[in-house]
C-alpha cells in the first residue's frame, strides 16, 4: 500500500490526453505547482481543468495555457492572463463559468457521494439555463450535479505516508474538497512525514481520499497581489 511517489512526474505519469483534472488553489494561493510543471513537461493535451481560477500568464494553469494543453476550463473567475483571453476569443479554449460556491459544492457532492445538490446561487440568472429549479420553503434553488473527474491535483502544507493532509491558512481553499472529489487524488506537500507524526485531530483530509503523495521542493508560492501597509 505504498502511496509515496518520488516526484511530480512520477505521480502524474498516467495522466492522459483528454483527462478531466481538478486543480486546487485560489488565485495562485495553494496551487499544485509541481504537478502543473510536470504536466507542462509531459505535454499532455486536450485537458479539461476544473479550478477556481486559471493562473496568470507565466504561473499556475497559465503555464499549461501557454502550451495549449487545455481544451476547457471550468472556473468561477478567470482572465488574469492575456493568453487565456486570446485563446478564449479565438475559440481555441472553451470556458464554463460557474459560481464559486457552486464549484465548492459540486466538489463536496462528489467527495460525499451525493449525486446532486441544491443551491440558490444563480437562480434567475443565465447560470440557471437548462437546470432544474426547485422551490423549498418559498425559496428557489438550482439542482447542481456532482463533478466527475479523472484526477484531482492538490497542494497541502504537510502530509504523511498514509496520505493524510494538513493545509495552511487560506491555501486550504478548494484543496480538501478536490482531494475528496477526484477519482485518483494526487497530493503534493511541502513536508512529507512518516505516518504517526501528524496529530490525528488536526488532519483536514484523511488519507483515504489520497491515492498518491509526494514532497515538492523549492516551492515558489508566487504572490499575485502584494499589498502592504506602512509601518506607523
Amino acid at each position: 500500500m505504498n502511496k509515496v511517489y518520488t516526484d511530480a512526474s512520477d505521480a502524474i505519469a498516467d495522466i492522459h490526453d483528454g483527462a478531466v483534472l481538478m486543480l486546487g488553489g485560489f488565485g495562485l494561493c495553494g496551487i499544485p505547482e509541481h504537478c502543473i510543471a510536470a504536466l507542462v513537461a509531459k505535454g499532455v493535451k486536450g485537458l479539461t481543468c476544473i479550478s477556481n481560477n486559471a493562473g496568470v500568464d507565466d504561473f499556475g494553469i497559465g503555464l499549461m495555457l501557454q502550451q495549449k494543453q487545455v481544451k476547457k476550463m471550468i472556473s468561477s473567475y478567470v482572465g488574469e492572463n492575456q493568453e487565456f483571453e486570446r485563446q478564449l476569443l479565438s475559440g481555441e479554449l472553451e470556458v464554463e463559468l460557474i459560481p464559486q460556491g457552486t464549484l465548492a459544492l459540486r466538489c463536496l457532492a462528489a467527495g460525499y457521494g451525493m449525486p446532486a445538490v441544491f443551491t440558490p446561487a444563480g437562480v434567475g440568472t443565465e447560470v440557471a439555463e437548462g437546470k432544474e429549479v426547485r422551490r423549498f420553503n418559498d425559496k428557489e434553488y438550482l439542482m447542481e450535479m456532482a463533478f466527475e473527474s479523472d484526477f484531482a491535483l492538490v497542494k497541502a502544507w504537510k502530509g504523511d505516508t498514509h496520505g493524510n493532509l494538513i493545509f495552511k491558512d487560506t491555501a486550504r481553499n478548494f484543496n480538501p474538497l478536490m482531494a475528496m472529489a477526484g477519482k485518483i487524488t494526487i497530493a503534493e506537500v511541502e513536508m512529507l512525514v512518516p505516518a504517526g507524526e501528524l496529530n490525528p485531530n488536526e488532519i483536514h483530509t484523511p488519507g483515504i481520499y489520497v491515492n498518491r503523495i509526494f514532497e515538492g521542493r523549492n516551492y515558489e508560492k508566487r504572490i499575485e497581489q502584494r499589498t502592504v501597509r506602512p509601518r506607523s
Binding site: F26, G27, L28, C29, G30, N52, S75, S76, Y77, V78, G79, E80, E85, L88, L89, L97, P99, Q100, G101, T102, L103, A104, L105, C107, L108, T119, P120, A121, G122, V123, G124, T125, E126, V127, W157, F167, K168, D169, T170, A171, R172, N173, F174, N175, P176, L177, H204, K221, R222, I223, E224, Q225, R226, T227, V228, R229, P230, R231
Partner: protein, 218 residues
C-alpha cells in the same frame, strides 16, 4: 457635494452592529473595514476561507498562503479561523453572515443586481458574487449613482445579465442612501449639498420620496 469612495464606505460602516459577521466585496466595500464605529466588534469573512480578516501586512511580512478573496496579502486577527470553500459558502448560504457589502453595475427597483458581465466584453466570471447575493441575509450595494456616461444605475429593470434577483436591501451611492422596498427605491438620506431633485433626475427606477430627506452628516 457627492460622496467620495471613502465617504460611501464610511456611511455604510454605520450599518454595522456589534457582533456582526460581514463579507466585504472588492473595491469600495473593502474600505468599510477602515470605518468600523468605536465600541463595535465585527468579524470579517473572506470567502476564500477565513473568518477574522485583519489589515494588510507590514512590508516584508506578506505570506503567500494568506490572502483575501481579492487575492491581496492580508493578516488575521486574534480568534480567526480557516476553513475550506465549501464551509465558507455554507455559512453564507445558511445565513450566518449578517451583512454583505458589494459593488454593482446596475440595481433594479425590485432589488435585482447585475455586476458580473457586460455582453461583448471579456467576461472574467462571477466568482462568489452569485452565491453571496443569493444567500446573504442583508445586502448593501456600494456604487456610483450613475455610470460614466451619466446614465442612472438604479433602474426599473436591469439591462445587463443578472447576478441575482430580489436580493439588494439597501444602496449607498455617491448621491444618496436608499432602501429597496416592495414599492421601489425609497430615498432615506442625501449627500451633503445634493438636492432631492438631482437624485430624482438620476434615478431611473421608481423612487419614493416622503417628507424631509436629511443630509448625511460625517
Amino acid at each position: 457635494m457627492a460622496l467620495d469612495k471613502k465617504q460611501i464606505a464610511q456611511r455604510i460602516a454605520r450599518e454595522l452592529r456589534d457582533g456582526y459577521y460581514v463579507n466585504l466585496g472588492i473595491g469600495i466595500p473593502t474600505l468599510v473595514a477602515n470605518y468600523i464605529p468605536e465600541g463595535i466588534n465585527v468579524v470579517l469573512q473572506s470567502e476564500n476561507g477565513l473568518l477574522g480578516m485583519g489589515p494588510f501586512p507590514f512590508e516584508g511580512e506578506e505570506d503567500p498562503d494568506l490572502i483575501n478573496a481579492g487575492k491581496q496579502t492580508i493578516t488575521t486577527v486574534p480568534g480567526s479561523a480557516f476553513f475550506d470553500s465549501a464551509m465558507s459558502f455554507g455559512m453564507i448560504r445558511a445565513g450566518r453572515v449578517h451583512l454583505t457589502v458589494l459593488g454593482a453595475m446596475e440595481v433594479s427597483e425590485q432589488g435585482d443586481i447585475a455586476n458580473w458581465k457586460i455582453p461583448g466584453k471579456m467576461v472574467k466570471g462571477m466568482g462568489g458574487a452569485m452565491d453571496l447575493v443569493a444567500s446573504a441575509r442583508n445586502i448593501i450595494v456600494a456604487m456610483m449613482h450613475t455610470n460614466p456616461k451619466g446614465e442612472s444605475k438604479l433602474l426599473p429593470q436591469c439591462t445587463l445579465p443578472l447576478t441575482g434577483i430580489r436580493c439588494v436591501k439597501k444602496i449607498v451611492s455617491d448621491l444618496a442612501v436608499l432602501d429597496v422596498t416592495p414599492a421601489g427605491f425609497k430615498l432615506l438620506e442625501r449627500a451633503p449639498g445634493v438636492s432631492v431633485e438631482e437624485i430624482v433626475s438620476k434615478t431611473a427606477g421608481k423612487l419614493i420620496v416622503e417628507g424631509d430627506i436629511p443630509e448625511i452628516r460625517f
